[in-house]
Symmetry: C2
Subunit: 332 residues, 2 copies
Amino acid sequence: MTSKLQSTVTLAEVAEAAGVGESTVSRVLRNHGSFSKKTHDRVMAAVERLGYVPNRIAGALASAGSRLVAFVIPSLSNIVFPDVLRGAGGVLEANQYQSVFAVTDYDPGREEAMVAAMLAWRPSAVMLAGLEHSEGTAKILRANGCRVVELLDLDGAAIDLAVGFSNGAAGRASAEFMLQRGYRRIGYVGHDFHRDTRAGKRFRAFCTVLEAAGRPLAGHEIHAGASSVEAGRLGLERLLARLPELDAIYFSNDDMALGGYFHCLARGISIPYQLAIFGYNGLDMAKVTPQPLSTIRTPRVAVGQVAAQLVLDDAPSQTIDLGFELIEGETA
Amino acid sequence: MTSKLQSTVTLAEVAEAAGVGESTVSRVLRNHGSFSKKTHDRVMAAVERLGYVPNRIAGALASAGSRLVAFVIPSLSNIVFPDVLRGAGGVLEANQYQSVFAVTDYDPGREEAMVAAMLAWRPSAVMLAGLEHSEGTAKILRANGCRVVELLDLDGAAIDLAVGFSNGAAGRASAEFMLQRGYRRIGYVGHDFHRDTRAGKRFRAFCTVLEAAGRPLAGHEIHAGASSVEAGRLGLERLLARLPELDAIYFSNDDMALGGYFHCLARGISIPYQLAIFGYNGLDMAKVTPQPLSTIRTPRVAVGQVAAQLVLDDAPSQTIDLGFELIEGETA
DNA sequence: AATAAAATTGGCAGCGCTGCCAAAATTGAA
DNA sequence: TTCAATTTTGGCAGCGCTGCCAATTTTATT
């Protein structure tokens, strides 16, 4: 399909109408180079009169700068990614950059295809979730020469820029907290971490700490798909059916944890005495539940903001650790 | 800032390397027009060898078709909009369209600025939330000639395409349901509906039905900012402090309603006997709470999908009502 | 084998804008 | 008033691709 005729006022027509040259109009509109006040006013009047909207496609082609930032994210259902987009989008919009996005559904193959599709727009930067990508993705990205920002994970090697926090450290902190609280029969309820590799990193680090303390994970229940409140509720139900003696559960994230929390409320399981619950993300909602959720708050919006700012500043390759905050809450 | 040198393999270089003409490469890559198998293979080999990534900026300029769809949405914090993006994005990506977005923060002035910025990319379509826009927005959109899709509301005049459901009808259905359930002292807890005009439409329709039944709204509490679980909890707390005799609350959406629900759980208010709760949106989470929330489920993902499909099909101007579903739940 | 019809192919002029450079206008200094 | 320095301005060649058209090659027909 091809849409109707677009508004076809061109810069040349504006120049004509204003009685000046094309490059003069271009200079005035971009406020770049010098021009007299009189000329400025005449040009702006013509722009106004004709309803001229600059064509950034032509502009980008001529200047080899698109002012487009591409986001290739795993999901839009998990609020984490909208949060990052929000942070980055705010900074970018304030600087006349636009955001393009594509969703991979946690599929590395789709990620590669989407990255290639995005690169066709010659973006100033590509932002990706995490550090794990297919070889093809890494290759095409490196070959392209545009900035690459990997978000929300620091445990591994970055291509160019990386902004986030350590998921391993988060997993460890969670385990240490729970041990220190005295829980001893700890289970895990999570979602598919072959796809969500960051959740996998937290899980493994968590287990390692438990083992080192001589209290290895007592059991786990993994949901095959993406995380959701429902999966969390179901997962906890199943796990408790098998292992009713558990005294605490580590969830792959707050969505899952909220599901577990609801399960306990529904079954009259007393939290945290009968069963403790610990999540990850620090969703806003999780602090408003009758008992605030014990979790780790991640600076998702800030990750987006910092990532965008680094790109705007054309900062050298580096890794920025924004850390996380352990929220004690009342569920563990 | 200007980023590093971009990968600079051009179509002309591929043509050279493959020993064919430029237009032949173009035809092969777009699978458009005719060419022999032998030529196809030679071109693809050269593309592979050189790591060529087509430049869609140049392509769009030459063909006057960007295959870009612009989304100008009020917020990314409210899951409603990511849901719509997800629905539309899926359909668009499958057809080699890309999505660009900008966030207005419910500010009509920003909406106008963002729409203008988006139009500079000559998108195939612009998708907006709701039917209320500044005069400037409507004018620039109409003048531009690209497709315009207004989403999530049907109560008013559309510019071109509109996909959604009637918020007025949703408000009425909610009121009728609550009256039929026997609630008589009904209150409202909502958020700023000067900005979220769709919430305002639901509210007014809701009140109208109550009045017609001789049971006008007993009281309301409006949060000045955006909706959130916390605002809902606080709003209910305040409203009950003033009007403890209320027997049911209509919330502006499920986020707010969940906040109210949590408040009741925390205070031991028995739902729905002591107080009934009714929301709007049908969030996934709302069906997993100990008592499933009584609410109206809106087809947000489908709205995105249908909107995208209409644009792909270059469908004539029309309004499509996707309806909504009243979920009885257990909280009202 | 000759000719017509169909399938391939390449050349090249733009798409609308920016960047470069030289020309013109203005200002300042002597 | 004259000449140099400075500020404004316009012309025009691309940016990398697509669309049109004509040229060439292949295939079908008689």
